[in-house]
């Protein structure tokens, strides 16, 4: 096989020396000569030697021309002992196969992954005895690398054969950087890295640039040290994805934290059709726990999110439910449906601890809190809430069983009794929510001692000195949410609930350690110090939210403002959900929950979407048990049968849909993105063998031919000189 067969025409140039020889014989000088006797005798003596010498020189010259022409035509030796001989050292092949889910798109009964596997196996089969190879799978957070290159071709072939689509997205540049760094350290003299990808844009590019800028440097270092092949296995294909499913109180609302029994909600699905043309008549179905609940026909615009609403969905029974939104199947079936786990509560019990009970509404710390959280209990017709509030004094609080509640709200408490603190910690660690308002009774040092504990306690921030401003309207501070990215603030902003109109005259300075990953400031004051107004801490599976001012109207106008009720609803739902409340996960995120001993039985079984039933025991952790299941590599519903009072619970694992946009990176785009890269771009995996051959054997054979031609040139030079010397043409010495 020849990489540049047209150069074979150059072999005809091998006739050039012969033609030149013949032409030279035609172009001669005529001399009338007398001493013919001597000439004829000399000729007779020289004839045979000259003929042999001329023939040798002629053959050498013809060979040189032919070899150069052959070298230019890039001959490729197929797998053979001769190829091995020419190719020299054994080859170490590293196959980097992108098995992210975009590689699973079915086009003409095959997928990019299937094509990649076939091509990789073909390369493996063509390897020589003594060659080694390794496999890197790129669909996932980290590259799964066969530890060391192995010569066990059969095992590697089997691994490639069994390779399946990962439900994760791939950050190919990052993986490739790692692979190249590792390849640099390999002792093999000839290394070939084959990258099989569908050239999906997102796999390579994020925010307009290479997802791992380090790849440029890695490629620069790899240049000349190894052969790099970028094999494009993908094809352009339209794709529809169900991007998101949320449950909201109304048609415009954001995700609702908690859903109440018999309270109708709207299921809001967002679909997007990634294509240049729109897609009409797409059937979108809603299923609740697998039962059809609704169906809509929609037309999807090209590259524009389309919201499909299923209003009036009510749940009759409390407990975990699974919603499924499914669109008509297309080439990439995996992202055509999406699940949402919903916790339906009959009620969420809230304990409101009032540290300063008072008949004076302005001074009563829990008055506005109770009404904001559970308006229906106080005959407000403002709407239904899932919360039911019980109020206790700080004295009552000591005797309450905290496990009866999902959320505790403390308002102007002098301090948390030290003997109650461990229970409170256990409550939060297990997943409970705790909201703390401060006030004039707050004893900062006691709070810090018991609850801050140098940052190890429940308190999200250390309470510093109190700041009191004059009651005059102009003197107060306001909440500043402009720089906040917290989901509560975002949700409120989306619902047009502004916090900035509330005026705060008294508050505490908080020392929030934002360098800790568990601590986040929700929003701040607009004072010169920009001091924190609300700080959150994730503690165990629960959350603690500290508000630096009071819930009573003495310190601020916030409880009186119309934003207070929705704020408390959102904040309460957010806190009550805890960090374990996240039963909707992305692929790869662990299923995580805290359990009390009575909540699980002898065996805890996880049923995976792959059909497996796996026993997985919780591990003890600080008066409770931690259940963590990490193998969530497959999209779908994971049902955990705890066996105790917790019963069965579903977790929905969904795709990171960024991978669903099958827009491809063209070679020109890639060249622009990674300028001067050393990749050999192979536009079809079926062409890899030829392209590889060009570099693998062809290049070596080319070099070999050039070396031989150079050798022959030197030999020709030497022989011509030697023959010349023998004939007296070249002066000796």
């Amino acid at each position: 096989m020849f990489g540049a067969p047209w150069w074979l025409l150059g072999v005809a140039a091998g006739a050039a020396p012969i033609i030149i020889h013949l032409l030279n014989r035609q172009r001669f000088k005529r001399v009338t000569w007398a001493a013919m006797d001597w000439l004829l005798k000399a000729l007779e003596r020289n004839r045979r030697r000259m003929r042999v010498e001329n023939l040798v020189l002629l053959i050498l010259r013809v060979l040189i021309v032919v070899l150069v022409a052959l070298a230019l035509s890039r001959p490729i030796l197929e797998s053979s002992p001769a190829a091995a001989l020419v190719g020299g050292a054994r080859v170490c092949r590293i196959f980097v196969i992108d098995n992210s889910y975009s590689m699973g798109v079915k086009i003409a009964a095959t997928s990019p992954l299937e094509r990649a596997k076939r091509s990789a196996m073909d390369q493996l089969i063509s390897s020589q005895g003594g060659d080694v190879a390794s496999l890197v799978i790129s669909g996932g957070e980290s590259a799964e690398v066969t530890p060391e290159p192995t010569g066990d071709v059969a095992r590697l072939t089997r691994q490639i054969e069994e390779l399946e689509i990962s439900h994760r997205e791939a950050n190919l540049p990052a993986i490739l950087s790692k692979v190249l760094a590792k390849a640099q350290g390999l002792p093999h003299p000839k290394i070939r890295v084959y990258v099989f990808t569908d050239m999906q844009r997102f796999t390579w590019v994020g925010e307009g640039k290479l997802r791992d800028p380090g790849l440029v440097d890695a490629l620069r270092k790899a240049r000349g040290k190894m052969g790099l092949f970028l094999v494009d296995c993908g094809r352009e294909s339209p794709n529809t994805v169900v991007e998101n499913v949320v449950v909201s109180a109304d048609e415009t609302g954001e995700a609702q934290g908690l859903v109440a029994v018999d309270v109708p909600v709207t299921v809001r699905a967002t679909l997007e059709h990634f294509a240049s043309e729109p897609r009409g008549d797409v059937t979108v179905k809603l299923l609740v726990d697998g039962r059809p609940e609704g169906e809509k026909k929609v037309a999807l615009e090209a590259r524009k999110p389309t919201v499909v609403l299923f209003p009036g969905v009510a749940f009759q029974t409390p407990g975990p439910h699974v919603l499924t939104v499914a669109a008509d199947a297309d080439a990439l079936a995996l992202d055509d449906k999406r699940n949402l786990a919903v916790d339906v509560e009959r009620e969420v019990k809230v304990l409101c601890v009032n540290g300063s009970p008072s008949s004076d509404l302005v001074s009563n710390e829990s008055y506005y809190l109770e009404r904001a959280l559970a308006p229906q209990q106080f005959e407000f017709a403002a709407g239904l809430s899932v919360f039911s509030v019980e109020t206790a004094t700080d004295v009552d609080f000591v005797t309450r069983n905290l496990n009866d509640y999902r959320l505790i709200v403390m308002a102007n408490l002098f301090q948390v009794p030290p003997e109650k603190a461990p229970q409170l910690e256990a409550f939060v660690r297990r997943g409970g929510g705790l909201i703390i308002f401060l006030g004039d009774r707050t004893e900062a040092s006691a709070w810090n001692d018991v609850m801050w504990q140098g940052g190890k306690g429940l308190l999200p921030a250390r309470i510093l000195e109190r700041k009191s401003l004059p009651a005059a309207e102009s003197a107060g501070q306001h909440f500043d949410t402009r720089r906040s990215t917290h989901e509560i603030v975002r949700t409120l902003a989306d619902r047009s609930v502004g916090l900035k109109y509330a005026r705060v005259n008294d508050y505490y300075y908080l020392d929030a350690r934002e360098d800790s990953p568990d601590v986040r400031v929700l929003f701040r004051y607009d004072n010169p110090e920009s001091s924190p107004a609300a700080v959150e801490k994730v503690y165990g599976q629960g959350r603690v939210i500290l508000i630096s001012t009071s819930a009573a109207a003495r310190w601020s106008t916030f409880p009186l403002s119309p934003t207070f009720a929705p704020f408390m609803q959102e904040l309460g739902a957010y806190a009550a959900r805890g960090s374990t409340g996240r039963r909707n996960l992305l692929v790869g995120e662990p299923i995580l929950t805290m359990l009390f001993p009575n909540e699980f039985g002898a065996t805890v079984t996880v049923s995976t979407p792959r059909g497996e039933k796996l026993d997985h025991q919780p591990a003890p952790e600080q008066n409770a048990f931690r259940f963590e299941f990490s193998d969530t590599r497959t999209v779908g519903v994971y049902t955990v049968a705890f066996g105790g009072s917790r019963g069965n619970c579903d977790w929905c694992v969904s795709l990171d849909t960024r991978e669903s946009d099958l827009e491809r990176l063209s070679k020109a785009d890639f060249d622009k993105l990674v300028p001067d890269h050393p990749f050999v771009f192979v536009d079809d995996p079926d062409n890899l063998r030829a392209a590889s051959g060009r570099v693998e054997s062809g290049a070596q054979l080319w070099k070999t031919l050039i070396y031989v031609a150079l050798g022959l040139m030197l030999l020709e030079l030497f022989l011509a000189r030697y023959f010349g010397t023998q004939r007296g043409i070249v002066k000796k010495g």
Binding site: N24, R25, R27, F28, K29, R30, V31, T32, W33, A34, A35, M36, D37, W38, L39, L40, K41, A42, L43, R45, N46, M50, E53, N54, F723, G724, Q726, R727, G728, I729
Partner: protein, 298 residues
């Protein structure tokens, strides 16, 4: 180089054209170089009378006849020579060759004419035999001005042709020249050395002194060709296309072998062998001749 000696250079001589002038220039140039009178020590013998014409030297007047007849007669003498020389000039086709302006034929003629002139001036008798495949012209040796003119005339008439057959020719001439004398052979000797030497031996056998002027062109002794060359052989050899670079060494070996064989053979038979290139000044030939003559007249 003074004016006279300049005429010893063959390139200059070839421009003169007329052989009588060439011969005179050569000999006078050569003699002036020697500073020796050419007219010293020779006697003459009365041959005939002729009428006096103004300008004749009165010392040659035959006073006795004047007294008897009252008419002026000049006594003409036949020079008494003590040397008879015969010049054998090769006029075969191979002598036509010349890499420059001077062909071997021209050069041979210069040598022959110069020798004839000098011999005549020295009152020696000189004959001429011109040969190719046979002796096509033979002028018996005599010593007078008319004879010299005849020889020069003959030399002017040469048209080189045919192949050399030296052994037969030398035997032929040897049969014709009975009186012992000096045989001067001017030729490129393109023939078998053994055959040539056999012919020359015949002269020696007849007690002749023999001088062989082996005239070769410079190219024939250097073979300076580089390009592919078609050698068109004279004397009917045909054409040979070859790469001369590859042949040069062997060619020169062959040439040297031939020359060496000739030299050895000549030395063996006490024959003077003088190799002349067409670029060689003519005094070399004259000196060689005088040396041989000196041997002869001892």
């Amino acid at each position: 180089m003074n004016e006279l000696q300049r005429y010893l250079d063959p390139k200059t001589l070839v421009k003169i054209g007329r052989l009588d002038l060439v011969a005179r220039r050569v000999v006078e140039g050569y003699i002036s170089g020697l500073h020796r009178s050419p007219y010293h020590g020779f006697s003459v013998e009365f041959a005939d009378h002729r009428e006096y014409v103004p300008g004749d030297d009165i010392k040659h007047l035959d006073w006795r006849t004047l007294a008897k007849t009252d008419r002026y007669y000049i006594k003409e003498y036949e020079e008494e020579t003590n040397l008879r020389s015969t010049i054998l000039l090769d006029t075969s086709e191979s002598m036509k060759y010349g890499s420059g302006e001077v062909t071997k034929q021209a050069y041979g003629c210069f040598v022959a004419a110069s020798l004839a002139y000098m011999l005549t001036q020295q009152q020696d008798s000189v004959g001429l035999a011109m040969f190719d495949s046979g002796v096509h012209r033979f002028v018996p040796p005599k010593s007078n001005a008319a004879h010299l003119r005849l020889i020069l005339h003959e030399l002017n008439q040469i048209v080189p042709k045919a192949k050399t057959k030296m052994d037969l020719i030398f035997h032929d001439v040897a049969e014709r020249v009975h009186k012992r004398g000096l045989i001067v052979v001017i030729s490129d000797l393109f023939d078998d050395p053994e055959t040539i030497l056999m012919g020359l031996r015949h002269f020696r056998h007849n007690r002749h002194e023999v001088v062989v002027f082996h005239v070769l062109d410079e190219y024939e002794t250097t073979f300076p060709f580089d390009e592919t060359t078609l050698f068109d052989g004279l004397e009917g050899y045909g054409e040979v296309l070859t790469e001369p670079r590859g042949l040069r060494d062997t060619y020169l070996e062959e040439a040297n072998k031939f020359i060496l064989a000739m030299k050895r053979g000549c030395r063996h038979h006490e024959i003077d062998y003088v190799q002349l290139s067409t670029a060689t000044p003519l005094d070399v030939a004259l000196s060689a001749y005088l040396a041989s003559r000196a041997k002869r007249t001892k």
